[in-house]
């Protein structure tokens, strides 16, 4: 199995979630993160002192999927999350040894 991790723009989360559901991926875990890259942050000014916020809000999405699905899942995410503007994010794939469903103790593909 593979762990697909995607960094995407926050407002794309819903679309990506729905596209994955349509594809057949029904589980995922997401969190709010801050990204640093080509996309620039912004400046803030408080009583004349300027602060540069270098980080940009992003969403990090993780889904464990079967080996065979990994490539397609990446494609689905890339296609849906793409706006064509800088800062759209990254998707990477990590091989995993095993996965367990806590509720039942099932392992492997049945646990996804």
């Amino acid at each position: 199995m593979k762990l697909v991790t995607a960094i995407i723009k926050p407002f794309k989360l819903d679309e990506v979630k729905e596209a994955l559901e349509t594809y057949g991926i029904t589980g995922m875990t997401v969190s709010e993160v801050s990204g640093y890259g080509r996309q620039r942050g912004h400046s803030e000014v408080y009583r004349g002192a300027e602060y540069t916020v270098d980080f940009v809000p992003k969403i990090r999405l993780e889904a464990v999927v079967e080996d065979l699905d990994a490539a397609s899942v990446v494609d689905v995410i890339v296609k849906t999350a793409q706006t064509g503007r800088i800062g759209d994010g990254k998707v990477w794939v990590v091989p995993i040894d095993d996965i367990v469903r806590v509720r039942t103790g099932e392992r492997g593909e049945g646990a996804i």
Partner: protein, 461 residues
């Protein structure tokens, strides 16, 4: 030029108790605008709370200054135009007011009490255009709108003959098509709420809908702020309504009680509708019901009985709870429901006077009774006339002002800025920083100028 103020003729000594109450009431009403800022600010998303609050705060700045210059005079200077407008030069810079006595209170106490009304009337409008207005244009709008729309309306409604000036406005004194029957609007259902509500609708149409309106969720980001705001508004509103007696006596006290009764009933009315329709009593609903009740009792607080106040309240709460959904049906983005709460609530209060006005009210035996008390349709007609005149005037003129500003200065930020959030793009700020993350980022990228400080030359230049 003319004898502008009765008070000048024979300045009696003000009554200290009445003055004490009006000064306290004025402070209470001043406090309502920061309260409104919280009420509104809590209802928008995190990314525009500061902008929302700033639209209220800047009104305190601009209207505060303008009032001292020409606003007071335009609203309460002597009218030589048949009830339409006071002379803005009569009391420019409050000339001659400091030493006057109006009724039983000093001139400046009346100035104080009325300026805070002007401020909040303007601030209320901003709820219709959350998340997307250019702040500079809004700032200009506050001045223009006050001058062309609010000060005249205040003159019509609050300038009684022989009070601050010999001749006052037409709605208060029954001029124009009212044929001598003044409308009852004790504390500003028409001049403030219908006016601000209609103006809000006009601006919402001029600016258009927010990106994602009706599709994306735009839930309130901080309901505790909304609740604080509602609490402050309720508190301050006792100054608004009971202070409008301009004296500390049975009238003010009766109005106080009616204000409480209507608000309590409206909270319950709104919550019952929510429970029946959506299945829950929400805290946003309770806060909204409070405001709806306060709005509706504003014009009516002196002329209905305590039981009447409960009726005004429960009707306002229930109807406004239904009305806030209209914008989705009709497709205008009155973001924080200025129409659903202030226009609708203001109409309910103003019109219900026509039904419920009673000699058993704080206003007492001189009251022209309403339909339910055997007074026939007279007062109802007068109320409706005043209400709809203000509504239409405000909507049309505001639309024109908004449209002109939009075509010239632009009234809406661009899409990118709206998406990022107006706090950041318009004000270079974000409201909260609770974490460890951003407080760990460095200042600037200028090692030589680690902090950019004041630069006198740039300013003086």
């Amino acid at each position: 030029m003319t004898l502008t103020s009765l008070a000048m003729a024979a300045p009696p000594t003000p009554n200290s108790g009445d003055t004490a109450w009006v000064l306290a009431a004025a402070a209470l009403v001043l406090f309502m605008t920061p309260g409104l800022a919280l009420f509104y600010g809590g209802m928008v998303r995190t990314k525009s709370v500061l902008n929302m609050m700033m639209m209220s705060f800047i009104s305190m700045g601009t209207i505060g200054v303008v009032w001292l210059l020409w606003g007071y005079s335009e609203a309460f200077g002597a009218d030589s135009s048949g009830g339409w407008i006071g002379n803005p030069f009569d009391h420019f810079g409050l000339h001659g007011v400091l030493t006057a006595t109006y009724g039983t209170i000093p001139g400046p106490a009346f100035v104080a009490f009325q300026v805070v009304f002007a401020i909040i009337a303007v601030a209320l409008v901003s709820g219709a255009i959350a998340d997307r207005a250019k702040f500079t244009t809004w700032t200009v709008f506050t001045v223009v709108w006050a001058t062309i729309v609010y000060f005249p309306a205040a003159h019509w409604v609050f300038a009684f003959n022989k009070f601050a000036a010999n001749t006052g406005g037409w709605i208060a004194n029954g001029g124009f098509f009212l044929h001598g029957h003044g409308a009852y609007d004790f504390a500003g259902g028409t001049a403030i709420h219908i006016n601000a509500g209609a103006a809000g609708l006009a601006l919402a149409l001029v600016l258009g809908k927010r990106l994602g309106f009706g599709r994306d969720p735009m839930r309130p980001h901080n309901i505790t702020l909304v609740m604080i705001g509602a609490g402050i508004l309720w508190f301050g509103w006792f100054g608004f309504n009971a202070g409008s007696a301009l004296s500390a006596g049975p009238l003010a006290a009766g109005v106080w009680v009616n204000t409480l009764g209507a608000t309590a009933a409206a909270m319950l009315g709104w919550l019952v509708v929510e429970r029946l329709r959506d299945g829950h009593f929400t805290s946003l609903g309770a806060a909204s019901g409070v405001v709806a009740g306060l709005v509706a009792i504003t014009p009516a607080c002196a002329t209905v009985t305590p039981i009447g106040s409960l009726i005004v309240g429960v009707v306002a709460g229930a109807v406004c709870a239904l009305a806030v959904g209209l914008k989705f049906k009709l497709g205008f983005d009155d973001s924080l429901d200025v129409v659903g709460v202030h226009l609708v609530g203001g109409l309910i209060g103003t019109l219900l006077i026509g039904l419920l006005a009673s000699k058993g009210s704080p206003n007492g035996s001189g009251t022209q009774e309403g339909l339910f008390y055997g007074g026939g349709f007279l007062q109802l007609g007068v109320q409706a006339g005043a209400a709809f005149f203000v509504l239409i005037f405000s909507f049309v003129v505001t639309y024109i002002i908004g449209w002109l500003l939009h075509k010239t200065m632009g009234f809406r930020v661009d899409e990118q800025d709206e998406a990022e959030g107006v706090d950041q793009t318009e004000h270079a700020e974000t409201a909260y920083d609770f974490g460890n993350l951003f407080s760990g980022s460095r200042i600037g990228h200028r090692p030589d100028h680690p902090i950019r400080t004041t630069n006198k030359e740039e300013v003086d230049a």
